[in-house]
Symmetry: C2
DNA sequence: CGCTCTATTGACATTTTTGTCGGTAATGTC
DNA sequence: GACATTACCGACAAAAATGTCAATAGAGCG
């Protein structure tokens, strides 16, 4: 019997990078950032180690590209969700909901935690831009009294969404409560605050 | 000139372990979990690599011991803070405050995030025990209507405390708000909920 | 087809990190 | 002081992870 060698796949540079980063994302979500080893990434993508290095230069390059990609996806998802609401009343609640969705799925919160732990949290500037744009939008549309109050409030929303997205499931399981409960209550707190602000 | 060799320090096994784990904790807080290398830990503790291994067997043993130690400290801190309040009214607010303190300082939230990312979140069972004890205590003292409501609420408090503790400072800086703001608003949300629950 | 370009690769080199081992030196005990 | 115990260390070995390089092979183009 002859030795069969898998036919070599040749992709465009973009497709090759995409393929590798997708594998990285899966590893990050399933095993955490410390499992992002060159060999594992290459194996996950179905290519040789050297191929990964050819496209990204180093394992750090891979990580940087992964962060960038995930942040871009995250911001885009938030923007889309937020843009879908037109009425002033439901917009804030829907915005909060969009935040919770964005960070609760596809590893958004895990990415943020990774950045935080590795001291690369400055990379999240894209999030800042998005939040500030949204804040400006709300000022324009709903014209609430205090601008800093709006910013403060959005700040807390983002932080809560991150916390729930990262720890929610584990905490719920740990304490024997249904996983969606945390999110419900957190959103409830937020909406109560909104009613208080706008209503009286 | 003769070669001076620093006098060898000999500690009790407990003190030696303590010394090493303290160095680990500093590294974890300053540089993140990925920086917990054997050589760095040994250097931080002022001992040889082999000494670290002598006491913990392997670098994994070091990490496990560190987790255990930090969790123990964390739970103890929460318990102390919580036990200081006697009146039923302020207890919940004070409890929430204690939670925020515990996770916001000394890397409690960073530890939790690390456990979460590495998939070792089950180690946090000590936290579960503490929360359940506190919930039982509150049921006994304040006898609110619904037990699951109390549990749900504490669950959200813990998750929010974790989120604020881990992401609060970065998010505040990122959005140009004072760092203590998040904590204030979050506690405000919680206390509003308490008033709503108990008051009407 | 012949040619160029470059994504891809296995084999190898380098670096980093972890772990082993025999010996040394504090400390307590008799 | 003699001895046993063991925390401690330097030097080295092993393993793991990253990175280099020359050669190979798809794909487009004349």
């Amino acid at each position: 019997m002859s030795i069969e060698r898998a036919a070599r796949v040749r992709r465009s540079p973009e497709a090759a990078r995409e393929n590798i980063l997708a594998a990285c994302e899966a590893i990050l979500l399933e095993q955490g950032p410390q499992a992002l080893k060159l060999a594992d990434v290459a194996a996950g993508a179905g290519v040789a180690n050297a191929t990964v290095l050819h496209h990204f230069g180093s394992i750090d390059g891979v990580q940087t590209a992964l962060m960038t990609r995930m942040i871009r996806q995250l911001v885009q998802r938030i923007a889309v969700d937020f843009g879908q609401h037109q009425d002033a009343v439901g917009r804030v609640g829907a915005g909060a909901r969009a935040l919770f969705d964005a960070f609760g799925t596809r590893g958004g919160a895990r990415l943020a935690a990774w950045l935080e732990l590795t001291g690369e949290a400055r990379r999240m500037t894209a999030i800042r831009q998005a939040v500030q744009e949204v804040a400006a939008l709300r000022m324009q549309l709903d014209s609430p009294v205090d601008e800093t109050a709006v910013q403060d409030f959005m700040l807390v929303c983002v932080t809560m969404a991150l916390g729930v997205g990262l720890f929610g499931d584990t905490m719920a399981e740990l304490l024997g409560r249904p996983p969606e409960r945390i999110r419900e209550i957190a959103l409830d707190l937020i909406e109560a605050r909104i009613r208080q602000e706008t209503g009286g």
